[in-house]
Symmetry: none
Subunit: 188 residues, 4 copies
Amino acid sequence: MGEDRSSRKEAIMKAALSVFSQHGFHAARIEDISREAGVGKGTIYQYFSSKEDLFRAMLIDGMERYVRILQSTVEEEDRVRDRIRVLFQTNLYLARTNSRAARVILEGLTGLGDEMHDWFLGLRENILSSLENLVREGIERGELRPVNPRHAAYLLLGVLHTLAVAGMMGETEDETISDMVLMGLEPR
Amino acid sequence: MGEDRSSRKEAIMKAALSVFSQHGFHAARIEDISREAGVGKGTIYQYFSSKEDLFRAMLIDGMERYVRILQSTVEEEDRVRDRIRVLFQTNLYLARTNSRAARVILEGLTGLGDEMHDWFLGLRENILSSLENLVREGIERGELRPVNPRHAAYLLLGVLHTLAVAGMMGETEDETISDMVLMGLEPR
Amino acid sequence: MGEDRSSRKEAIMKAALSVFSQHGFHAARIEDISREAGVGKGTIYQYFSSKEDLFRAMLIDGMERYVRILQSTVEEEDRVRDRIRVLFQTNLYLARTNSRAARVILEGLTGLGDEMHDWFLGLRENILSSLENLVREGIERGELRPVNPRHAAYLLLGVLHTLAVAGMMGETEDETISDMVLMGLEPR
Amino acid sequence: MGEDRSSRKEAIMKAALSVFSQHGFHAARIEDISREAGVGKGTIYQYFSSKEDLFRAMLIDGMERYVRILQSTVEEEDRVRDRIRVLFQTNLYLARTNSRAARVILEGLTGLGDEMHDWFLGLRENILSSLENLVREGIERGELRPVNPRHAAYLLLGVLHTLAVAGMMGETEDETISDMVLMGLEPR
DNA sequence: AATGAATGAGCATTCATTCAT
DNA sequence: TATGAATGAATGCTCATTCAT
C-alpha cells in the first residue's frame, strides 16, 4: 500500500515533468497532467497541495536525478581530468536528450517565490562545492595548475551551463570546448 | 507628434520591463503595466497588438540594448585580451545592476512560439560570429593560441552566460574567471 | 445521473431562452443566464462550448418544440380545412403567449454564421414540404381548389409568419384571415 | 454649408446602412462606419448622439425610403388589383436586391428600447391603413369581394412580409402567390 | 482513498465615447 | 467644425481547487 502511494506519486510527477516541459508552468493544465498520469484530477490534490507545490516537487526531483546521474558518472573515472571530461560529455548528452525538461528547469526560477529561489541557490552551492573539491583534488594530484579552486569551479559550472543550453538548442558541439577549458587549467 | 508617440511607446515598454521582470510573463497583468506607464489600459493596444506582442517587443528591445552596450564597451579597447576582459566585466556589471531584467530575459525563451525562438537563435548566432571574429583577430595578432575560433566563441559565450547568471544571483565574482579562460587561450 | 445531467442542461437552456429573449444575443450576459439557471458560470461551459453554441442549441430546441406542437395539433383534425384553421389558431396562440421567445427566434437568423443559416433554411424547407403535402391532400379530397401546391404552401407559411408577428406585437386578430385565405383556396 | 451638413449626414447614414447590414447592430463598429463614410470617428458624434441613435435614424430612413418606393409604384397603376400586383412584385424585387438591408431591418426590432418599438408599430399601422384604404376602394369599385378591409389588409401585409423573407433568402418566387391571394379577394 | 462535476475568481481584449488640438 | 488618440467599462472564457459521492 505504501508502495502504491509511492508509485502513484511518482506517476504524477513523471506526468508533470512531461506536461510542464511541453507547455511551461502556467500553460500546463492540471487536468492534462492527471490524464497523462492516468489518475483523476482530484487525486493529484491528495499528494500535492497545489499546482505550484507539484511543480516544485517535480523540479527538485528532476534536478536531483540530474545531479545524481552526473555524480555517478564522475565516480566511475579515476583521473580528475577524465572526470571533468565525462562530466561535460554526460551533461551535454543529458541536455540533448532531455532538452524540453532542461528548458523548463531553466525557466523554473521565475515567479515561484523565494523559497524556491533559496532552494536553487542551495543546490547551486552544493554543485559548486563538489566542483571545488574536484579541482582541489586535481591540484593536489598535480593534474591541474594551482588555480583558485573556487574560481575554477565557477568556470566549470559556467561551461556546464553553456553546454546544457547548446544541447537544449539542438546544437551538436563536440568536446573541444572541454579541452580548451582543461588547457586553461592544466599545469604549465 | 512622432516624438510623443515614440516616448509613449517607450514608457509602455519600460513599464512592461519592470512589471514582467517582477512577475514573469503570465502573472504580469496588463492593467499593472498601464498603471505603471501612466496610460490607460486601452492605450497599450494602440501600440501593441497583444500582451505577447508587447512582451516580444520588450524582450527584443532589451536584448538589443544589452548587446549594443557590450559592443560599444569592447570597441574602446585595443588589445584583444583587454576586449575580452572588459566584455566579461561589463557583462557581469550589467547582470548585477539589472538582475530582474536579466532574469525575465532568460525566461523569455520558453513558451513563446517558434517565431521568438528563431529570433533568439539568430541573435545568438550574431553574437557567436562577433566572438569568433574577435578570437580570430586575437590569433592573427598572436595574442591568442591558435585554437578553433568557433569553439572558443562557444566557450566565451558560455562564460558570459555564467557570469550573467552569477550576477543575477547577486554573487560578486571578480575577474579571476576571465583570467583563467584567457590562460586557456593564450599562446604557449 | 444521466437524468441529472439532462435536467441541468435543460435548466440552462430554459434560462438561456429567458435571458436571450429579454436582451437579444449580444446584450445577454452569460453570468445572468447562469444565475437564472441556478448554476455556476463555469458549469455552462461544461454543457456548451460557447455563448454562441448555447444560443444555437436553444434556438434549435425552441423551434423544434414549436414545430412539434403545431404538428400534434394538426394531427387531431380530420378535414384539411380544419387542419389549416387550427394551424393558424395555434400558431397565433403560441406567438401570443410566447411573444418574447418568438421575437428572439425571429432575430436568430442574423449574424450567426452560415451553419445556422443553412439549418434554418432546412427547417423552413421541412415546414414547406409538410404544408405542400397538406395542400395536395386537400386538393385530392376536393376540399381545395387545384392550385399549385408549392405556391399555396408559400402562402400558408407567409400567413403563419404574419400571424406570428401579429401575436408577437400583442395584436389580437381573430380567425378571419384564415377564412380569407381558405376562400382563396376553396373550390369554385 | 447647410448642404454640406446635409450631404455629410447622408453619407454617414449610407455607410451605416452598409456596415450595419453586413454585421448587424452589435458587431458593427463605429470606426468602420466612419471609414466607409470617409469622415473621422468623432464627426459621427456631431450628427448623432450615439451608435443607437445612428442605427435608429438609419432604420427609419431606410424604412421610409422603402415605403415611399412602394407607394410611388402603386400610384402608377389604376386598377386596384394591378396595384396589389405591383405592390407584391416591387416588394419582392426590393427584398431580393437589398437582402442584407432587409435582414438588418427585420433584426432591428430587438433590444432597441420601447421608443423604437413604438415607432415601428406606428409605421406598421400607417401601412395597414394604406392597405385598408386600398381594399376599401377595391370593394367600392367592385374589384374586390366585400371582405372586412382591416382583415384583408392584414393578409396583404402578411404576404408582403413573406415575400420579403423569401426574397431575402434568395428564393425566386413568381407571382402566383399574389394571384392566389387575389383569388381569395375577388368577387364571386 | 479516488473521482470529476461544479465553481467563480481572474484577466485579456474590445470599442463606444470623449476631448484636446 | 473635424479629428483620432486616449480611455476604461464591460464580459466571455479558463482552469485551479473543492467536495459530495
